[in-house]
């Protein structure tokens, strides 16, 4: 029912829009959002075209961020959905027809696109003081802002280990002490190789960079665990689904998918020790039609309570740590920005990944090619 409301308001006038806010009680921040527009320094008009990943992700973001944004500023949000934004951003830039205003990137794609001049500098003067204070410096680049961070955690089926499950990646490799079918991620080597390295008992700080020797060691460990891995998962939805069905006893999984499954009542537990972490960026595309509105969208999105809404909806938190004050207590232990979890995480070394090697490939390409060779052999 909320969905229907959400998607029918494009044709409504502003007056009926304000009336409809009383119906949206399921949406938090109602009190704040219905404040007079005059107070709102971000007020504007027209639209802004924002990329997202589709499915429940887009639905949640619409409910927790877009709706309050439109109510507060009068700016409509137009969805664009794709698996990956980068190839399309590049294509639009090359074709000279930029149809989007905001896109998200994995950090590896950022440097080359930044150098090619595809992005507009972020106007931080529109941001609230609180947002600037809560968002660490490394998350606020000249022309990009961290939009959310994704972690790869160990998850296990509590039904399979009534006396206590694995606590780290060494345990994951110990199939005598913790018997049962395993799952690991197939597509990206840079996600699974660190987990394999950790199984040797290596210190967190020594995981990156992924030198050839370390990759060799990781492959040895992976060959060891291979007979116990029943399915190398590909799509994010697979890992929790296979845990629930009993095809897996333990697996690596994206934190957001895990959070969704746990909140849905699945008997799964996540372990943060040695989780990888990637920070995705949001950018404003040069040549887009609504750059001013896009700047306002960023300023709004990074307000602590809105950031909290984003996290509640998607399970993937943004960088503003002030949001912790606005989040339900039960959710915080499941999040990568929870300081207790953050201490156990190993963020990937993006600077190293994007560096060029002597053969012209980036380190990221090299790691991925070695991964492909190992898995296809």
């Amino acid at each position: 029912m909320t969905k229907q409301d959400t998607y029918s308001f494009r044709g409504l006038s502003r007056r009926s829009l304000l009336q409809s806010t009383t119906m949206g009680l399921s949406v938090p921040f109602v009190a704040k959002a219905t404040k007079a527009w005059a107070d709102e320094k971000l007020a504007g008009s027209g639209e802004v075209v924002v990329y997202s990943y589709g499915g429940s992700f887009t639905e949640s973001v619409r409910r927790y961020v877009y709706e309050p944004f439109t109510k507060a500023t009068g700016i409509r949000v137009v969805d664009v959905v794709a698996d990956f934004a980068e190839p399309q951003i590049r294509a639009m830039h090359q074709a000279g027809r930029v149809d989007w205003d905001i896109g998200y990137l994995v950090p590896q794609s950022y440097p080359a696109m930044h150098e090619a001049g595809m992005f507009v500098p972020i106007d931080y003067s529109l941001w609230d003081q609180e947002s600037l204070e809560g968002t660490p410096q490394h998350a606020r680049l000249e022309d990009a802002v961290v939009i959310h961070q994704t972690a790869g955690v160990l998850a296990y089926d509590e039904r399979a280990f009534p006396k206590g499950g694995p606590q780290n990646w060494v345990d994951f490799w110990d199939h005598k002490k913790f018997p049962g079918p395993r799952g690991l991620e197939a597509p990206l080597g840079k996600h699974t190789i660190p987990h394999a390295l950790l199984s040797t008992g290596i210190a967190h700080k020594d995981v990156w960079p992924l030198t050839d020797e370390k990759i060799d060691r990781a492959f040895e460990k992976l060959n060891e665990i291979k007979p116990h891995v029943v399915k190398w998962w590909t799509a994010g939805g697979e890992a929790p689904q296979l845990l629930i069905n009993g095809e897996y006893a333990m697996t690596s999984t994206f934190d957001g998918r895990l959070t969704a499954a746990i909140r849905g009542g699945a008997p799964i537990k996540g372990i943060w020790d040695g989780a990888w972490l990637t920070r995705s960026y949001a950018v404003i595309l040069k040549g887009g039609a609504n750059t001013t509105n896009a700047q306002k969208f960023f300023a709004f999105l990074n307000r602590a309570e809105i950031a909290a809404g984003w996290t509640q909806g998607t399970g993937y938190p943004g960088p503003n740590t002030n949001q912790l004050k606005h989040l339900p207590a039960g959710l915080i232990p499941l999040l990568s920005i929870n300081p207790e979890n953050a201490a156990k995480i190993i963020p990937e070394d993006t600077d190293w990944l994007v560096q060029k090697r002597s053969d012209g490939k980036t380190n990221a390409e090299h790691v991925q090619e070695r991964w492909l060779a190992w898995r296809a052999a």
């Binding site: 969905k3 499915g55 887009t58 399309q88 994995v106 891995v229 898995r375």
Partner: protein, 584 residues
């Protein structure tokens, strides 16, 4: 106009010692222009990136040579594609045969069994396979119960799983072209053979099988090429090493953003497949088998004599063998076909069952029944809107692809053009190339015209992708359309339009229907073109379902799939009933 055309036709026939374009060749024009503008030009632009344009280099190709993994992946892809094609062929032939010779009830049942798997969403279908073949699946439980195995055997997440999953989906693509060709074979020929002393087996081997060859070749060609492009099913049902080349190319284009290298891999793939087809055509005259009337008369006469001799030998051997075969009174094929159809339907039925789940996850057996998944679909404007968008785009694509593809097929079949081999290679290229490459290339073209993000633009892209299917299916069926029927009609005073309406249309119609069906599915199934040509603004039904795989684990997609299957079933049943009414 007609006058000049017929005088040209005479001229064409007079010089038949050498292939000379007949006026039919004009029919090649619209489709060729369409493909050149929408496919050849943009694709060439993108493929030149493989050579480093504008800083020319062969570095991308030497990287492929230096990194053995890409050749391993290419070999994997070919192995899987060949196996699936062979398996699908063996399983499909009896079904197609039973479709042709069986009664109405059997035919309807088989058609449903063949077509429905196509309409189950990939994720829902994969989950159905887990229910059947997983560690705790039905089959393993059964085997454990019987004590045949001591622990669950791995039926999924290995090469077996990939081949099973892919074969399940490609069956209609093999069966329907065979079926259209088989149903145009005159049953009197078989009766005549039997009356002249041929055993049923001999009659089948010497009469039916050779006449059904164009359908077989068309099916094998389409299935093989279609298999090359698979990557979601291998990823979900395969093991770690089941990497397909399309996966590697997509990753270069979408994730690594190395378009030059992705283009280089695509060039190698295209060349590998085309040379494979060329080598194949040395051993099996693909052109001829597809039904092209060949200009090289002398050669085909000797070949035909040789063929006839061989057929006679096969026939007498089969006659001798037939005495030793147990007789099933002609029931064996329908029984076998029905069993296969039941197997094809098993996962489909599980999807339908799962759609009534009360749980927000895929769980088996269901904890309780509810209609929540149907409500989630029908009362969600996004789902409903996506459905209508998909149908609109598919209908536009079907109209363009069927019209242009049929003209191309007639032109190819009757036009006696020189360089027909090259033309066929060109026509097949849109489905040999990974869709992601064609989609990026087409995007740049549409963006120049301002058509990016429009439904019409997307339909243009889908039409390019659908034309090869239409051409291959129609061409395979044109062999039996003897031009002398049309000449007879014309000499009896029928105008070109009347000839078309009374002779050509009824004979080609079944092929056109099947061709449109595949054109429809080529558009309705797509999740790659829509991303680039729709620039994220167009949401189609399969895209919504694909988001489901990436983002949610919601059984709503099972409900969507079930509704699609219901719709397909209704179409098949109504179609059969209408046909019967016409006949009575």
């Amino acid at each position: 106009m007609a006058g000049t055309m017929s005088s040209m036709a005479i001229k064409g026939r007079a010089q038949s010692s050498r292939p000379w374009p007949t006026p039919w060749a004009w029919l090649l024009l619209p489709g060729s222009v369409f493909l050149v503008v929408l496919f050849v030009v943009p694709l060439t632009g993108l493929l030149l990136l493989a050579f480093g344009m504008p800083n020319w280099t062969l570095a991308n190709f030497s990287r492929i040579g230096d990194t053995p993994v890409y050749l391993t992946v290419m070999r994997n892809t070919l192995e899987i594609s060949v196996t699936v094609t062979a398996l699908a062929f063996v399983l499909s032939y009896p079904i197609a045969y039973a479709l042709t010779t069986g009664g109405m009830v059997l035919r309807t049942f088989l058609l449903i069994g063949v077509v429905l798997p196509y309409f189950t969403s990939t994720l829902a279908r994969t989950f159905a396979w887990i229910v059947l073949l997983g560690r705790n699946g039905v089959v393993n439980q059964f085997l454990l119960e019987l004590g045949w195995v001591s622990q669950p055997i791995p039926l999924l997440y290995n090469r077996f799983g990939v081949i099973l999953g892919m074969t399940h989906i490609v069956m209609p693509m093999m069966i329907l072209p065979m079926y259209t060709v088989m149903s145009s074979i005159d049953p009197k020929l078989m009766r005549a053979a039997k009356a002249n002393g041929a055993s049923p087996l001999a009659a089948f081997l010497t009469i039916f099988l050779p006449l059904s060859l164009p359908g077989l070749i068309a099916g094998i060609l389409l299935v093989f090429i279609y298999c090359l492009g698979f990557y979601i099913t291998p990823a979900l049902m395969g093991g770690l090493s089941d990497v397909m080349i399309t996966m590697a190319i997509s990753s270069q284009i979408l994730e690594q953003l190395n378009w030059n290298f992705g283009a280089a891999l695509s060039v190698v793939l295209l060349l590998a497949v085309l040379s494979l087809l060329w080598i194949g055509s040395r051993f099996f005259p693909i052109e001829q088998l597809l039904g092209f009337s060949d200009g090289k008369l002398g050669l085909s006469v000797t070949r035909r004599q040789l063929g006839a001799k061989m057929l006679m030998r096969i026939g007498s051997a089969a006659n001798a063998l037939d005495r030793w075969l147990p007789s099933m009174r002609g029931r064996s094929v329908p029984i076998l076909a029905s069993c296969l159809a039941v197997l094809l339907l098993l996962p489909v039925l599980i999807v339908a069952y799962l759609s009534f789940s009360a749980s927000s996850y895929f769980v088996f057996p269901l904890p309780g029944y509810s209609l929540r998944n149907y409500e989630a679909f029908l009362f969600d404007t996004l789902w409903v809107r996506a459905t209508f968008t998909s149908i609109r785009i598919a209908l536009m694509a079907v109209a363009m692809a069927t019209a242009l593809g049929a003209m191309l097929a007639f032109g190819l079949s009757r036009g006696a053009m020189p360089g027909r081999g090259a033309m066929i290679a060109l026509l097949l290229s849109p489905i040999i190339m990974p869709t992601v490459i064609v989609a990026v290339a087409t995007y740049f073209l549409l963006a120049r015209w301002g058509l990016q993000g429009t439904e019409f633009g997307l339909a243009l892209g889908h039409a390019v992708h659908a034309i090869p299917y239409v051409v291959v299916i129609v061409v395979a069926n044109l062999r039996d359309l003897n031009p002398s029927y049309e000449r007879a009609a014309r000499s009896l005073g029928a105008g070109p339009w009347a000839t078309m309406r009374t002779i050509v249309a009824p004979l080609v119609l079944p092929a056109l229907i099947v061709a449109s069906f595949f054109a429809f599915l080529a558009s309705f199934d797509d999740v790659v073109y829509v991303l680039f040509l729709g620039i994220g603004k167009i949401t189609t039904l399969p895209m919504r379902m694909w988001e489901g795989i990436r983002q949610d684990i919601s059984p709503t997609i099972a409900a969507v799939a079930t509704l699609q299957m219901l719709f397909a079933t209704i179409v098949i049943v109504v179609g059969t009933l209408l046909r019967r009414q016409k006949k009575t």
